[in-house]
């Protein structure tokens, strides 16, 4: 599981952990808190492709439905199926068991435009 300090962040509160050509996608604790109890997660399925700037899926809470933005392009290689039965893991452990999906990308450069953990946490304290 990624260490939060190794993740990169968007202003729309997704986190991305890049390791080689694999990008793990999640949402931050701040986002999980704002959304309130997550009731359903639907990420694009394994084998589906994502264009840079596409939505990688949706996260639903008691209150609302939110798109998960993804600045990386690539192919989905894994989805966190454990969230089907326990979507609440996104609330309780968003950087660990609450990760959403993984993609394989040919271009990790979008990472450069994202915030590091310190910048993000200063901007969006929990």
């Amino acid at each position: 599981m990624p260490d939060m300090s190794d993740c990169r962040f968007t202003d729309s509160h997704e986190w991305f952990h890049v390791e080689g050509d694999i990008v793990t996608i999640g949402i931050s604790q701040y986002a999980a808190n704002e959304l309130t109890d997550i009731t359903y997660v639907e990420m694009k399925g394994v084998g589906e492709s994502i264009e840079p700037g596409d939505n990688a899926g949706e996260v639903e809470s008691v209150k609302t439905t939110a798109d998960v933005f993804c600045p990386f392009g690539g192919e989905v290689i894994e989805v966190n199926d454990a969230l089907t039965d326990e979507p609440g893991k996104v609330n309780t452990d968003p950087f660990g068991e609450g990760w959403l999906s993984k993609i394989r990308t040919a271009d990790v450069s979008p990472s450069e435009t994202l915030m590091d953990a310190d910048t993000y946490q200063d901007k969006y304290p929990v």
């Binding site: 729309s12 509160h13 997704e14 949402i27 701040y30 986002a31 808190n33 704002e34 959304l35 309130t36 109890d37 009731t39 359903y40 639907e42 949706e58 996260v59 639903e60 008691v62 209150k63 609302t64 439905t65 939110a66 798109d67 998960v68 933005f69 609440g88 609330n91």
Partner: protein
């Protein structure tokens, strides 16, 4: 995903410190900084269904009408009959516009023959003040109309264990019938306690002076161990208030009813009195017709093109307000969603929706466009959940 929190210019209720002390997530709700939850909406929802919860509803509007024409005025603006109510009685009513749309849904409390209290939605408070002043001046009604919202506070205590708790506090309160209230003189202030609520559970709502609010909460909760594993009462936010009312099939202003949605289509006929002529002192022409009556009578006799229904959804995706509803596999649009939630009590997704009368029979099979996907849905009778 987008999230916003700007809480700089928001009004605070007298329980603001209480919310902060209990770890509330505060949000802007119609200009008031209100608790969305104190940790988990779902946990709070279950807490109310299983034991009890305490809600700050001080943001709701509270008006007093006092004087010789107060009753006649209320019969003019309310769809429900106010004449003939008894002291200590409460009635749920609509306040309609001339077209039969809903300006607000309210509770009217009769304190005495010439004195009434009204509780309205926070979002509609200023609109109603304007409307009431216009009607008052137009018809020359003589009474005093006062907005007591910010001078008072209001809490709701709801859940199956609440009346037992209230019996420790007053022997009279548990004997109150539904939609009745009593006024208790506590040491420092008068409090109004009613057997009403918006969760589908038994319970009370309490109106009290703002200055006394913090002390009152202490008094109410002095026998409650809030840190116990299963406390009788916990503070509950607006998030669970919404999911609780939705399971109970209750309309929420801005969702099931608004200025363009009428109470006949919403299935709220019980709150409309088409013949207010039982007043022996005044002719029906004089006070018997309320604002919006002509339109509502027409809806009633001719039927409305759509009805508010309950929907059970297949799958685990929630429907949201404004989503379109189709029949016959998606060919024809037959309605729209007003509220939807993944029901914590029932463990499935439910929604309320307006559906064309040809498709609103119980058992009708429909489809909801959820954006990325469509969900099958079936019309079911409201409410979704009834307390045992």
């Amino acid at each position: 995903m987008t999230t916003t929190t700007d809480t700089t210019t928001l009004k605070h209720t007298p329980f603001h410190d209480f919310h902060n002390a209990n770890g509330a997530k505060l949000v802007d709700y119609t200009g008031w900084e209100m608790p969305l939850h104190y940790g988990s909406i779902i946990d709070e929802h279950h807490q109310v269904r299983k034991a009890g919860g305490l809600f700050d509803v001080s943001h709701m509007g509270r008006f007093r009408f006092k004087g010789k024409d107060a009753r006649a005025f209320l019969d003019r603006v309310c769809t429900r009959q106010i004449w003939g109510m008894s002291d200590g009685q409460i009635r749920y009513s609509m306040v309609c516009n001339h077209e039969g749309g809903v300006k607000d849904d309210v509770l009217v409390y009769r304190i005495g023959e010439t004195e009434y209290l009204m509780v309205c939605n926070a979002a509609n408070r200023m609109k109603l003040i304007e409307h009431f002043n216009e009607v008052k001046d137009e018809a020359g009604f003589v009474f005093k109309f006062e907005d007591e919202t910010e001078a008072t506070a209001m809490i709701a205590i709801q859940g199956p264990k609440v009346m037992e708790l209230m019996s420790n506090f007053s022997s009279e309160v548990p004997t109150l019938k539904r939609y009745r209230f009593t006024i208790k003189n506590l040491i420092i202030a008068k409090v109004m306690i009613s057997r009403t609520g918006y969760t589908g559970e038994d319970g009370v709502e309490i109106i009290l002076p703002a200055k006394f609010a913090a002390k009152a909460i202490d008094m109410m909760l002095k026998n409650v161990d809030m840190d116990a594993e299963e406390p009788t009462i916990k503070p509950i936010g607006l998030g669970a208030r919404d999911s609780l009312r939705l399971e109970s099939g209750m309309a929420l202003y801005g969702h099931e009813i608004d200025e363009h949605l009428d109470p006949v289509s919403a299935g709220l006929d019980f709150a409309i009195k088409y013949d207010k002529s039982e007043d022996p002192e005044k002719s029906p022409e004089e006070v018997g017709r309320f604002i919006g009556q002509d339109a509502l009578q027409k809806f009633k006799s001719e039927g409305t093109p759509r009805k508010l229904v309950g929907l059970n959804l297949e799958g685990r995706r929630s429907a949201r307000q404004g989503m379109k509803i189709y029949s016959g596999g998606g060919e024809s649009e037959v309605g729209f969603v007003t509220s939807g939630v993944n029901s914590p009590t029932l463990g499935k997704c439910i929604a309320m929706a307006y559906v064309d009368t040809g498709h609103c029979e119980t058992g009708s099979k429909l489809q909801i466009d959820l954006g990325r996907a469509k969900a099958d849905a079936e019309v079911i009778a409201l409410p979704f959940y009834k307390a045992p």
